[in-house]
Symmetry: C2
Subunit: 248 residues, 2 copies
């Protein structure tokens, strides 16, 4: 059987999704829970890697087992074995050919800020503190420059090994949500640190450190040094994932 899980995790407790030596990862926690529940040690394939400290409200991953189990039992059983910082809230049986990484078509990330001179204990490790107010309307307007198919080299950490830095951004919005200010971005794929640099660039525009209307020139330059800073992982959430039609 091929099971597709949907889960949430508080990334502040983990060194990212991907299993690494000497570091606690979400993947190794999920693989251990699957081993306990099914009595089989399997590879759990995530829809993407995430960095240390990055959160997910919707992370999808699939795994193959010999045994068959009702999806409701898989959800309850995995949550029983998993720690509180990870929650499985959906499980579907999908075709044997389905792969959560290769069949992923589009993802939505949120980068979340909060403003206030003093820290907020309820948002510690959950959002990035900015000590002054933000111009939400301006940031939202400037975010639209990200939409479309562009070479995002200027918005990519050095040392990335991908072949092409061209990605297609489908939507980019900035809005207030409860006590946070959210930069929401949807694309067919993301380069290393791309969302965190896009968020840092919008922040610099609001702060007057990068001129209004400059994003097209930064994109065209392919020069990382012209974009804003890389924001910390605390504010980053994988928020939604879509798969190619007909794959599941």
């Amino acid at each position: 059987m091929n099971y597709l899980l949907t889960m949430m995790f508080d990334g502040s407790y983990f060194h990212g999704w991907q299993t690494q030596k000497n570091a606690d990862s979400v993947q190794s926690n999920v693989q251990n829970a699957v081993a306990k529940l099914f009595g089989e040690r399997v590879h759990v394939q995530g829809c993407s890697r995430t960095d240390a400290g990055v959160h997910a409200r919707c992370f999808k991953a699939n795994f193959h087992t010999q045994k068959e189990m009702a999806p409701e039992t898989v959800i309850g059983g995995l949550n029983f074995y998993l720690r509180e910082a990870i929650s499985v809230y959906d499980c579907q049986i999908v075709p044997e050919t389905f792969n959560a990484r290769f069949d992923c078509e589009r993802k939505q990330y949120h980068y979340e800020f909060y403003t206030g001179r003093e820290r907020n204990p309820f948002l510690a490790h959950r959002a990035a503190q900015v000590k002054h107010s933000l111009d939400v309307d301006l940031m939202n307007e400037q975010a639209k420059y990200y939409i479309g198919t562009h070479d995002f080299s200027a918005f990519c950490a050095a040392g990335s090994s991908v072949i092409s830095n061209v990605r297609t951004v489908k939507a980019a919005d900035v809005f207030s949500l409860d006590d946070r200010i959210v930069f929401s971005v949807e694309a067919d794929g993301f380069l290393y640190n791309m969302v965190r640099i896009m968020a840092g660039t919008l922040l610099y525009i609001s702060e007057g450190k990068i001129p209004v209307g400059e994003i097209p020139a930064i994109l065209a330059s392919k020069d990382r040094t012209l974009a804003g800073k890389t924001m910390p992982p605390d504010g980053l959430y994988l928020n939604q994932v879509w798969f190619k039609e007909g794959t599941m």
Copy 2:
């Protein structure tokens, strides 16, 4: 000088406000930070006690010192010494006669629920999980029965030692806020566990375990066993505090 602090704290890290033997309290953390900053060991008087696990978005406390310091310096200095789970976000110099406990006129608490079959890692210890949907409109309508001056003995934990169980509730509302459902209540004072029992009673009404329209009869009975369950501390927040006119 008499300083009035306003702070937030994530109560899941503490055994309540009040200093106790062999338990980590918010008060002892704040008193230690004041001692480091001012070089004086003083008593910090909170506006109320809070139970273990209970949070505050607005907790007020005052203390007297020999030394004078600018309020901005007090805020920055205390936050430097305090751990992340406590944040001081306002400081005012108040008359020597002001006392945060005795001059408190009214408080607002929030009790926060979230609904969903599976746990939410981002709301762990921050809200009470209810595994089914809640009838927010019905709960809001029924909450209005709490408004007014009543004997709240039926909504008070056994063993409470106060002289009178009469309190005046000024406002009581239930509404959705972001991913939570909030019961907000304002009164001139609260009995031990009162908000948690009021919240549990509204939950039982939504679940059909207590009949609609029953709150007046429960109040009149003064019988704790007729009200709903005591909700866990995780969902409880001291949300706002008001002082008597002319005291500060």
